[in-house]
Amino acid sequence: MLSFNLLVGVCLGYVCLLFLVAFAAEKRARAGKAGWLRSPVVYTLSLSIYCTGWTFYGAVGNAARSGLEFVTIYLGPTIVMIGWWVILRKLVRIGRTQRITSIADLISSRYGKSTSLGVLVTLLAVVGTTPYIALQLQSVTLAFGVFGGPSRDGNATAVWVAIGLALFTVIFGTRSLDANERHHGVVIAIAVEAVVKLVALCALGVFVVWGVAGGPGDAAQLIEASPISQWDMQPDRWVTLTFLSATAFLCLPRMFQVLVVENSDERHLATASWAFPLYLLLISLFVVPIAVVGLAVMPAGANPDLFVLTVPLAFDREGLAMLSFLGGFSAATSMVIVAAIALSTMVSNHIVMPIWLNARSGGATVSGDVRHVVLLSRRISIAGILALGYIYYRYSGGGAALAAMGLIAFVGVSQVLPALIGGIFWRGATRIGAGLGVAIGFAVWLYTLFLPSFGEGVVFPASIYEVGPWGIWLLRPQALFGIEGMDPLVHAVFWSLALNMAAFFIGSLLSFPRPLERLQGATFVNIYRYSDSTRGWGQSFVEAEDLLVMAQRILGAGDAQALFVRVAAEQGKRGYLPDVTPEFLDLLERELSGSVGAATAHAMLGQLTGGVTVSVEDLMRVADETAQMMEQRIQLEAKSGELEITARQLRDANEKLTQLSVQKDAFLSQISHELRTPMTSLRAFSEILMDSEKMAGSERKRYSSIIHDETLRLTRLLDDLLDLSVLENGQVTLNTQPVTVSAVLDRAIGATQSRDEANSLRIIRERDREDVTLVTDPDRLAQVFINVVSNAQKYCDAATPELRISVSAVGDRVVVDLIDNGSGIPKDSQSMIFEKFARLSDQRAAGGAGLGLAICREIMVRLGGGIDYLPGQGGAAFRVTLPQALAAAA
C-alpha cells in the first residue's frame, strides 16, 4: 500500500512543479516573450478546467449508477464549442473590445454599466460556485482518504488543501492588475494540469481495457454483462442535462474567465472549436469501461466515485493510482484556482470597489495609490471564497453524491443565460428585464433546488414538501404549481429558467432603457460593426490633471503617464496632459475598466466629470451614425436631384438664349432690312416725285399711294413693337366686359376673312359649344384670335386649308383650340415661336416682323390665361386658355 506520507510528498512536489511552471511563464511573459504561452493549444487546454474533480471522479461514479447519462455533461459543451461562430466569437469580441473582466462585468456593462446588476450576478456566482468549490475540496479529501485510510481526519486535509489553493491563487492570480486581466502563469499551470488529468484517465482506461478486460472486444462483452448493460435512459434528464451543461459552459464564471477574459486571440477559438470537443471525447472515452470493471471487481457498496483510485489499487498498480490521484488533484485545483480568480475579480469590482468609493465620498480625486486597495480586496476575496467553500463542505455533511452537487451549482449559474444571450443578440433587452429575470431565476433555484439539497428537515421542514409553505399546495418546492412526478433537477431547471426568461422578456418589453443602456445595447449587439469603440461620454469640464491623478492610482504611475503622453501626442500636444475630449474619456474608461470593471470605472470617471455622461442627444448623434449617414446621403441625393433639374433648366435656358441671340442678330438684320426696304422705296419714290416735274397725275397718284402703303407698313411694324413693349412693361389697361367666346371668334374671323377671298381658309366651328360667357377684354382676345387665324391663312400648306376651332370648359377655365391641317411646326422650333422676332421661314408673304405670337403670349398673360403650342394634332395647333372671369386686379 502506498504510504500516505509518500502521497503527500508527491503532491507537494507536484504543487512545487506547478509553482515553478507558473513562475517561469510569468517571467517569460514579463520579458515580452509570451509566444507559445499564448498558443491555441494552451488556450484549448486551459478550457479543460471545465472538467473538474467532480467530472474526474464523478463521471465514473455517475456511469456506474446511471450508465451513459454522464456523457451529457460533455455533449453540451461540445455543441457550444462547435457552434463557436454563433455565440463564443461574439462574446470574445465583446470581451476584447469592451475590456470585460468577468461575466458580472459583461452583464453590468451591457445593461448600462449598472452596479446593481453587477452585484446581483456576483452574488449569484458566489452562491452558485461555493458548493462547487466544496465539491473539489471533498473530492481531494476523499481521494486522500482512499490512501490514508478511514482513520485520517478529512477536515484537516480539506483545510490544508484550501489554504494551499488560496496561496497559489493569491500569488499567481493577483500578481498585478493586468489591464487585460490575463494571468499567464495561471493559464500555463492549468494547461499542464489539463495534460496530467487527460494522461491519467487515458492511462487508467488503457490499463482497464487492455490490461484487465483484454481488449476492446472483451471490454464490450464486459459492458454487456454488467449491471449497466441496459441504457436505462430518462429522456427528460438526458435533454435537460445536455442543455444545462451547454448553458453552464457559457455562464460559469471560471469558464467565462478562460474562454473570454484570458483569450488573447480570436483565432484560438477556431482551433479550440474542434480540439476541445476532442479533449472531452478522450476524457470520457474510458469512463464506461472503468465503471464496468469497478463494478465487477470492487466489493458491493464501494463508492463508485472513487473507482478511479480504487480500481488500480485493487490490481496493485500503485504508480497508476498515484497518477490517477494527481489527475484528480489537478482537476480539482485548477478549477478552484480559476474560479477563485474569477469570483474575486467580480467581488472586488462589483461589491468592494463601489462600497469603497461610496464610503470615501471625497471620491477618486484623493491622492494615493488605489491599486493596493483593489489587490487587497481581491486577495481577501480569494481567501473568503475558499473559506466559504470549506464551510459549505464542512456543514453540508459532504455526503451527497458529487455529481448532484455539481449539477445544483450548474442550475444556479445558468440563471445568467437569458440576460447574457438576450444581451448580445437583442437590443431590446433592458436592465430592468435582466435584473428581474436573474433575480426571479435565482430565487426559484434557491427554493426548488439549492435549499432542498441540504436534505429534508435541514432548511425546510419536511411538511413543506408535503403540503407546501403555509399550506399552499401549489408552492411545494419540488412540485411547483401542482405538477408532480418530475425529476427534481428537471423540475428546477424548467421552472427557474422558464420564469427567468418570462420575467426577462416581459420586463424588457415594458421598461424603457436609459441612454447609456441603449448605447451599450447597440454596441454589444452590433459588435462586428462597431468594433472600434463607441462614444460614451459627452463633452465635460474635468481637468486632465485630475484624471491623471486618478489613473495613476489605478493603472500605476508609469502606465498612466505613458497613456496620457501617448494620447497627448496623438492630439498633437507635448507633455502629460491631453485635452479632455469624449474620445479620451472613453479610452481612459476602457483602460480603467480592464482593472476595476466597467461599472466602477464608469462611476469613478463619473465622480470626476460630475456625472456628465451620455445624454439622449449624444446617443442620437453617436449611436446611429449610420442612420445619420443615410440621412445625409438622402439629402445629398435630393440635392443632386435638384441640381440636376437646375442644370437641365440652365441648359434649356442657355439653348434658348443662344437661339435668341442668333434670332436677335437675325432680327436686327431683318428689322434693318424691314425698315430699310420701305425707306428705300420711300426715298426712291419721293426722289422721283421731287425730280420729275411733269409727271402724269396717274403716275403721281400711284407713286404717292406706294409711299403711303410703305409708311403704313412702317407704322404697323412700329405699332407692333410699341404694343409689345407696352404689354411687356405691364402698362396696358384692359377694358373688361362680359362677352361670349362665340362673339369674339366671329369678330376675329370677320376681320381676317375679308382680306383674301381667293386663298380662303375653311373654318370649322362648333357653335353650340362656343356659347361660353367670359369676363375679359374682347378687343385684346380678338387680337389673339386674329393673329392665330391669320397665321393659319398664311402658313397652312395643305391643298384645302382648314382651321378647326373647338371650345371647351375645363373647371373654371375656358380652352380654345385652333388646329389647322397643315404640316405643323417642326419640333425644334416649337419652343421658339412665341419669342419675339421668331420667324420660321423667310416667307416675305408673311409680311410681319415675327412679333405676332409674342404679342399674343403677352396679351394672354395679361388676361390671366396663356397660349401654348399643342403638339401632336396633325397640324399647327394652338391652345388658348382663359379664366372665365378675369381677376379684378388684372
Binding site: 461540445t78 462547435i82 454487456e224 441504457w231 462586428y528 446611429d624
Partner: protein, 91 residues
C-alpha cells in the same frame, strides 16, 4: 442600418465564404439534433451500442468542426462579410 447598396450576386469566392459561415452557424443545431436522437430510442438499446452511436457521431462532429474552422475566413475578412446587411446574404 447599413445602407450601402449590396450587389445582387456575389463573386464565387465570396459566395463560398458566406455559405461556409452558414455551415458554421448550422453546426451546433446539427450537434443538438444528433445528441437528442437517443432520447427517442435509447430505452431499448444497450449501453455498448449507445456508446458506439454517441462516440461515432461525436467524432463526426469534431471532424466537421475541424474542416469548417480551417476554412473559415480570418477575423478581418469575416468582419467584412458580417458587416453586410442581412447576414444570410444574397444567394
Amino acid at each position: 442600418m447599413n445602407d450601402r447598396p449590396e450587389p445582387m450576386f456575389l463573386a464565387r469566392e465570396t459566395y463560398r465564404r458566406r455559405r461556409l459561415m452558414d455551415a458554421a452557424r448550422f453546426l451546433p443545431f446539427l450537434g443538438a439534433f444528433v445528441f437528442i436522437i437517443p432520447a427517442l430510442w435509447a430505452q431499448a438499446t444497450g449501453t455498448a451500442a449507445g456508446k458506439i452511436y454517441i462516440f461515432g457521431t461525436w467524432i463526426c462532429l469534431i471532424c466537421l468542426a475541424f474542416i469548417i474552422s480551417r476554412r473559415l475566413p480570418t477575423a478581418g475578412q469575416a468582419d467584412e462579410a458580417e458587416k453586410e446587411p442581412g447576414r444570410s446574404g444574397p444567394g
